[in-house]
């Protein structure tokens, strides 16, 4: 039927309503820019090391974001911090998502696993995350990899919960029964029907987990559990905190904080916008 055939595909509809959301678009652009900064950090600023003569200088033409108490350029730190912060954020969230996806889908599909896995997820969700992260970070020693793993370790339950609820909505769908009637094995159904079905929510999860991971990284680094060998925004703040300059040398605090804010804000807005765009009900 020509009339019906001309309807937009869900993806196109999502995209078209997403495009009309200025906040969502702006967020996407900001994220893209940050990603570029992270990738091309070496082209933007030299790796901040050594020390400079101009210590604790406020922002100026020479040092856009000022210098810290040993004279390093804060701009360079923030640029290179983008790299580590985003890397920690993304790798933690990817890890969390792999675990969460596995557990969420298994819980939803294999009924016998649902109760134990559901309980496991619920229990994990009720653990005090930050204190435990502190514990585990102390346990594993500070490094970027540790941070990513620790954060992932405590972020997957959230993902699993979302994935499970989405998958639970798919499992009773007649098309899953249809695949079973047709003879599809469990693995087939999980692969062909469940996983593609939960991908959209996982997309949102990636974004949200990333932003949470960035905040967690900042928190742990701030508490002195970060990687001393690389610059992340949390590390910059930690050094500012250690030097007692949070309030006085405001530029060492402000710019990394802004970077965190910007990243977290744009990821959150992006996921909100994406969800809004996907939820066609809200605009019909």
């Amino acid at each position: 039927m020509t009339a019906i055939a001309a309807e937009l595909t869900p993806r196109a509809r999502t995209w078209s309503s997403f495009r009309r959301n200025p906040l969502g678009m702006a967020s996407a652009v900001v994220l893209l820019l940050m990603l570029l900064v992270a990738i091309f950090a070496p082209l933007i600023a030299p790796f901040p090391e050594g020390y400079g003569a101009d210590t604790s200088q406020p922002p100026s033409a020479a040092h856009w974001f000022g210098t810290d108490d040993i004279g390093q350029d804060v701009f360079a730190q923030v640029v290179w911090g983008t790299r580590v912060s985003m890397a920690v954020g993304v790798s933690a969230s990817v890890l969390a998502i792999v675990i969460g996806l596995l557990i969420g889908v298994s819980a939803a599909y294999f009924r016998r696993l649902d109760t134990p896995l559901g309980v496991l997820v619920d229990l994990s969700l009720s653990l005090p995350v930050l204190p435990l992260m502190i514990l585990v970070a102390a346990l594993a020693g500070p490094s970027v990899r540790t941070l990513a793993v620790v954060i992932a370790l405590f972020s997957w339950p959230e993902v699993a919960r979302v994935v499970r609820s989405q998958a639970l909505a798919i499992v009773p769908m007649p098309f899953v029964s249809a695949a079973k009637v047709v003879g599809g094995s469990s693995l087939w159904i999980v692969r062909k029907h469940l996983l593609p079905g939960v991908v959209p929510v996982v997309g949102v999860s990636v974004v949200l987990t990333t932003s949470r991971a960035v905040l967690s990284e900042a928190g742990l680094s701030f508490l002195g559990l970060g990687d001393p060998n690389s610059w992340s925004w949390g590390t910059i703040l930690h050094k500012a905190q250690q030097s007692g300059a949070l309030a006085s040398a405001w530029w060492t605090t402000l710019f990394p904080s802004l970077a965190i804010l910007l990243l977290v804000l744009s990821t959150t807005l992006l996921s909100v916008a994406y969800n809004d765009a996907r939820n066609h009900r809200s605009d019909t």
């Binding site: 040993i70 004279g71 002195g224 559990l225 030097s243």
Partner: protein
């Protein structure tokens, strides 16, 4: 001082309603962990308990022992015993006099249960006895010229009649109903918030001016600084980070007191690991550190050179003026490495990430070494891991600092004699051992000086220790106060009992 209603208008505080002698509020970053003075070893522990429990001796600005509970002390001719005379006008807060029995009890408890800082310092002690209520005699197994200084300064005297009731002195929490004899008594504790100490009116050595001393807990130094600027606290007990000190220098409301350190910051090379067992490699490393830059940039100039000697200028009795600092000379360094047949030297360096100063200069050490072709990989560790690795001697390079090294013969013994407790570099040098032994047996400074300087020279030449600097600590307090009596080290600073007892509002 925080008075209700007043915190709402700090301007009144700023415009300097003069401080009253009613209360002195001191910021600290941590809680008291243990009120038992024989056990507690954190800074806040020491500050609070040192106001409560007398020691036999105090220390002056040059590290020399001065009387406190003890009035005089001396060794016997053969060095096998020592006598201490006590003042008779100090009382425990429950009215009982502070007597020789208490001193004997404290030292014996430590000796028997072997705990705390003091245990390692009194290995020469055979037995302590109260000769009279005001005189104690220590019998020693060998002559030890460091014994009295150590026991006198480090051992807190606790009330025997209270502590002896506990099955184990070490396990005695002492967390309430305190019986103390210091200038102030602890009257109220609000954990996580504050410790309130009231003046003892009939304190033997002289009544303090300030009625009440309050320690307030601020886990974050930034907040603490804000509170000082806001007039909510009168003093920051802990040492200011150099950058903050530089910043606060320009603040008219705040005064900074410079305090010399009794310890030093240093790098130690694990002499049991190849290729660090080769003195040329260690020397190469010593030439690959930019000492000036560390002192000027990382410490903002709040540090003195010790001329690469373990005898620091803080203790002029021992310091050796002929010692020369290793020059920052990457070429020399390369040459030495070439001689030792080392190329592409790669070493790890552990340090405590929570130590703001070291966290600052560790990268500078790495970057300077790079110029000499040495790769140093930083291992900034969480504190407990760092301690663990240190005690296990599991490192190439150790970066750290010693807080109080007030008695070179005793301290160098611990730090450089074979098997010494804090001999992190695992030095095993018979000549050095002999020299230190000799210095320890000496009963006077004059006698000890020559062998100890000789030992220090060996440590310098062999780079058993690479001393970077002696920090100048900055303690900040409100300009509304005056009369503090500074003492060396961050532990005593202007927070020592005598200093607080003599503090008073300015003007």
């Amino acid at each position: 001082p925080s008075v209700p209603g007043q915190s709402g208008s700090p301007s009144s505080a700023e415009q300097g309603a003069p401080a009253s002698a009613d209360r002195l509020t001191i910021g600290t970053t941590a809680d008291v962990v243990n009120y038992n003075p024989l056990v507690g070893n954190s800074r806040t522990d020491s500050w609070v308990t040192s106001l409560m429990y007398p020691h036999l001796m105090q220390m002056d600005e040059a590290g020399k022992r001065t009387p406190y509970l003890a009035t005089e002390w001396s060794y016997a001719e053969d060095g096998k015993s020592a006598t201490v005379k006590l003042r008779d006008d100090m009382k425990w807060s429950d009215g009982k006099p502070v007597s020789a029995d208490d001193v004997v009890f404290a030292v014996t408890a430590v000796q028997k249960e072997k705990f705390g800082v003091v245990a390692g310092l009194i290995t020469a002690l055979d037995e302590a006895e109260a000769v009279s209520p005001t005189e104690v005699r220590f019998k020693l197994s060998r002559p030890d010229g460091t014994f009295l200084d150590n026991v006198g300064f480090w051992l807190p005297i606790v009330p025997k009649h209270v502590f002896e009731k506990a099955p184990s002195v070490q396990k005695f929490a002492n967390d309430k109903d305190w019986v103390s004899a210091g200038a102030y008594k602890l009257t109220k504790v609000e954990r996580g918030q504050r410790y309130i100490m009231d003046r003892v009116d009939d304190f033997g050595p002289g009544q303090p001016t300030v009625k009440q001393v309050v320690f307030r807990v601020f886990p974050d130094v930034n907040t603490e600084v804000l509170a000082l600027r806001n007039g909510e606290i009168d003093m920051i007990g802990n040492v200011l980070p150099p950058a903050t000190a530089a910043e606060l220098k320009n603040d008219a409301q705040i005064k900074l007191q410079e305090i010399p350190s009794l310890g030093w910051a240093h790098l130690q090379y694990n002499t049991k690991r190849k290729p660090l067992d080769d003195v040329r490699v260690r020397q190469a490393l010593a030439h690959a550190v930019d000492y000036e830059a560390i002192r000027n940039i990382a410490l903002k100039g709040f540090a003195k050179s010790s001329n690469s000697s373990v005898l620091t200028p803080t203790l002029p009795d021992y310091a050796d003026p002929s010692s020369k600092e290793y020059a920052f000379d990457p070429e020399q360094s390369k040459k030495l490495l070439a001689e030792a047949g080392q190329t592409n030297l790669k070493l790890g360096m552990i340090y405590d990430q929570a130590d703001p100063n070291i966290a600052r200069w560790a990268p500078m050490v790495r970057d300077a070494a790079k110029k000499a072709g040495i790769t140093i990989e930083l291992q900034g560790l969480e504190r407990n891991t760092y301690l663990d690795k240190t005690t296990k001697r599991d490192f190439d390079i150790y970066a750290g600092s010693w807080a109080v090294m007030d008695n070179p013969p005793a301290n160098l013994g611990l730090a450089f004699k074979s098997g010494g407790f804090i001999n992190y570099a695992q030095v095993a040098d018979p000549k050095l051992d002999d020299l230190i032994d000799k210095a320890q047996r000496a009963l006077t400074v004059e006698e000890a000086r020559t062998p100890i300087q000789e030992a220090a020279r060996i440590i310098h030449d062999q780079v058993y220790d690479n001393v970077l600097y002696v920090e100048t600590f900055n303690i900040a307090y409100s300009a509304k106060w005056t009369g503090f009596k500074p003492m060396p080290s961050e532990l005593l600073s202007i927070l020592n009992p005598l200093s607080l007892a003599s503090a008073k509002p300015a003007g």
